[in-house]
Amino acid sequence: MGFRVLSPRISQKIMNIVFIISGLITILILVFVLGYILIKGLPVVNLDFIFSNPIDSGREGGIFPMIVSSLFVTLIAGIIATPLGVGAAVYLAEYAGENWLVKVIRFGAETLASIPSIVFGLFGLAFFVVFLGLGWSILSGSLVLAIMAIPTIFQVSEVTISSIPSSFREGSFGLGATKWQTVYRVVLPAAIPGIVTGVILGMTRAISEAAAVMFAVGAALSLPLSIFDPGRPLPLHLYILATEGISLDNAYGTAAVLVILVLFVTIITNLAVDRYQNKIMGR
């Protein structure tokens, strides 16, 4: 109420300052966390740390099998989750119209997205590892991560596809294109930036998961050579190193590698998405 006594110009000024400060605080937190991890972690990171096997449970040596495990589970999870998430989004946004099934699917995706990852982990243990007999393996871990990533990929893709202007679709139909030709040749190419962003969001979360995979991939220190081998992704390794008091230094080193990996992937895909966007939009 007291706000109303201020002139619009002054309240606008105050709000601007509030926004700038909250923006600055966000950036500061990011810089602080990243800086802390990198300062503590980078001293142990070198080529040897990245490319050699751990020795003595990770007290010595490197984290090569963990890097491979991480990339492996995330890649397989992406291969499983992307077609399912994008497919569901295309179906809902382009074909289904508004009916009860659509509402149920949307609600399901929202619910799935809000379940704690440790619960997915437990489900993975019961269903993939034990019931389906997949054992502790890269595949079991990938399946858990895929289930977690599908709602993200689906939600971001659906919003993106729905936001593609209907004038593009009309133009395509007007030239005699079928529904599928329109979706495949006009809508999806225009939606690629958003879809890729959704996939990367899902994948960067997946690669950062310890809780979801801890009951499913095993915790093997050896290099996984097939999807049926157990593995130990970076976050899980970091968790074990820290909680079992094996080596805090190497835990920070592992964290630094993980952070750099995620940053690298995010920056590269952002650049690629921008480039593509500029190309199709003629900027």
Partner: protein, 250 residues
């Protein structure tokens, strides 16, 4: 000779009776203008001809829309083929977010032409017909979204022409354009009428007199009067037509 004959057409969107007993003949290789106030059903009418209204679930029609004597709503009609024959240019230029080349090649590709030489030849031909070639020939790979509004609209015309249609429907094609771009499109329409039957919806009465040979006046879903454009503007037979063209309402 008539390219299109519409007999007792009634169109409904749900309970909304949008077109009422519309009868009109569209002569071949001429320009027919449709005028009338907003919401009177002009867009609905032209979208009935290429069955774009099929996309709207509540759409329902009665009567015949004959293209070369065949009802476009007969159950054997292939809608893909119909829309190839009856092209459409929209109110707001809507090129695809693709290269200029791919925009024009789009219709050809979806109808199964993938050979690069024939694509290039037909894209060039369509762009020349749409009076755009000279402006874009050295940037065919650039995005169509980077063109000016007027260029985009001519690109949309080129995209339609590439399909080799018989009829081109234009729904207020200049309403989003500046005067210079509008003149270019009007010149283009003059050129195109030799080869195509054109129906143009326009809000602008000067435009109707400049580009069309025939004009129909729509009001509240009915055709009040159809005649030679020169006649209708100089000597309207109906009081409502006269009121509209003299600017008393609309």
């Amino acid at each position: 000779m008539n390219k299109i004959e519409v007999e007792d057409l009634n169109v409904y969107f749900g309970d909304n009776h949008v077109l009422k007993d519309v009868n009109i003949e569209i002569p071949k290789n001429n320009v027919t203008a449709l005028i009338g106030p907003s919401g009177c059903g002009k867009s609905t009418f032209i979208r009935t001809v290429n069955r774009m209204n099929d996309l709207i679930p509540s759409f329902r029609h009665e009567g015949n829309v004959l293209l070369d004597g065949v009802d476009v709503y007969n159950h054997k009609m292939d809608v893909v083929d119909l829309r190839k024959k009856v092209g459409m240019v929209f109110q707001k230029p809507n090129p695809f977010p693709k290269s200029i080349f791919e925009n024009v090649a789009y219709g050809l590709r979806i109808h199964g032409i993938n050979d690069n030489d024939s694509l290039s030849a037909r894209v060039e031909e369509a762009l020349r017909s749409a009076a755009l070639w000279d402006e874009v020939e050295d940037k065919l790979e650039n995005s169509a979204m980077g063109l000016s509004g007027g260029q985009q609209q001519r690109l949309c015309i080129a995209r339609t022409i590439a399909n080799n249609p018989k009829v081109i429907l234009m729904d207020e094609p200049c309403s989003a354009l500046d005067p210079i771009s509008t003149t270019k499109i009007e010149d283009l329409i003059h050129k195109l009428k030799r080869d195509y039957t054109i129906i143009i919806v326009t809000h602008n009465m000067q435009q109707a007199t400049r580009v069309s040979k025939y004009t129909s006046f729509f009001l509240n879903g009915e055709i009040i009067e159809s005649n030679l454009t020169d006649k209708i503007f100089i000597d309207p037979q109906n009081k409502k037509t006269e009121d509209y063209i003299t600017g008393r309402f609309g």
